[in-house]
Amino acid sequence: MFRTDFPLFPEQASTLAKEVDSVFLFGLGVAVVFSLLIAALILFFAVRYRRRAEGDVGQPGHAPAVLEIVWSVVPLCILLFMFAWGARVFFHASRPPADAEEFFVVGRQWMWKFQHPEGHREINELHVPVGRPIKLTMTSEDVIHALYIPAFRIKQDVIPGTYTTTWFTATKPGVYKLFCAEYCGAEHSLMSGRIIVQQPQEYEQWLYGAKGQQGMSLTGAQLFDARACNTCHRPDSDARAPYLQGLFGRQVALLGGKTARADEDYLRESILMPASKVVAGYQPIMPTFKGQLTEQDVLELITYIKSLGSAGQAPAGREAAGGAAPGGKGR
């Protein structure tokens, strides 16, 4: 089956796509203009000044410094312009808007696992509503993968042991291809999937149609009990461990005088390798949960901890600004 119709330009289906395409088209323009210019000059000179007699020699030209400066500075200006424009787009692409909904992605050889904030899970397929910013927080269970959605012009490596993020706002309902772009082993080329962009109502329907799902923070809360985290992390004053309410986003004072910001990576590390960053004023008694929790579990726990409020939007009755520790223990 040989297709004779084939696309020359990829579909644009996110807010970012237009921006990326504009820089690209500019770069392409520069490339075409300069390639043609050089090619034309070479051909013209090679014909015009072709050797006519055996003993002919070229006319030694003197190289004026101005010329050298011009053809260094002009490209330089074009290049810096391209850089600045590209960097703007890139920063836009790297900073999810504050109101983005957070989805979780776990990559593994050779499949993609997605989880909606409401808890619904999908494999190799992701339903999203059109027009709403969506942030993907991603990690991998084995090797490095990369989430690539050409129609959205986004790509981000998914790295074991840490979280990376990317985001998009889809602009057109439809079904778009999803690829793994970082080589990851035998079935790298089969580690693909679909992004299904739906109108918000359709999406809601689909979500509630998906039965038996519960919010991630709820499963997280259950895990928190089931894994006995709550035996230490309690609100009372003789708890052996810091109470986690209002933790997310705050600067945490660590043993040894350093501080760390309580972001996802910090929480993950605190759960899997508790001894590597010990909170000041506590004993390093927390057991490691490495190997006992799946990446999925960790994500759920993190969502739960985040749902306990974060710095800046702390639940009533506690102030984040002063940094006074919950339960009176210094942080």
């Binding site: 920063f91 790297s94 900073r95 999810p96 504050a98 109101d99 840490t162 979280y163 972001d263 990576d265």
Partner: protein, 98 residues
């Protein structure tokens, strides 16, 4: 012949300084200077190796290209470390929603 012959006296002087510096660096290690500990330790290592390079390795009396070669190894090493750490220190620092 890298023509210049350095008299043994110089070697002995350098040797003494190196021993003293070794003693200092060990001494410093047992005292708390906060973050300065690392700085002092590396500074002393830097001075010691400079002495070895200049005198034992005759760079002080060598041609300019040898001087440049000796320096370039360290310079490129610094580039490697500086740029890599520039990434490591700023990773994940992009503030959400700004």
């Amino acid at each position: 012949m890298a023509a210049h012959v350095i008299p043994p006296r110089v070697y002995l002087t350098v040797f003494t300084i190196l021993l003293v510096l070794t003693a200092i660096t060990v001494w410093v290690a047992f005292h708390d200077f906060g973050p300065l500990n690392v700085v002092i330790a590396l500074a002393i290592a830097g001075i010691k190796s400079t002495l070895v390079i200049l005198f034992f390795m005759h760079v002080r009396y060598s041609t300019r290209v040898v001087k440049i070669t000796a320096a370039s190894g360290f310079i490129f090493l610094v580039i490697l470390i500086a740029f890599t750490l520039a990434d490591v220190f700023t990773r994940g620092k992009l503030v959400v929603g700004k």
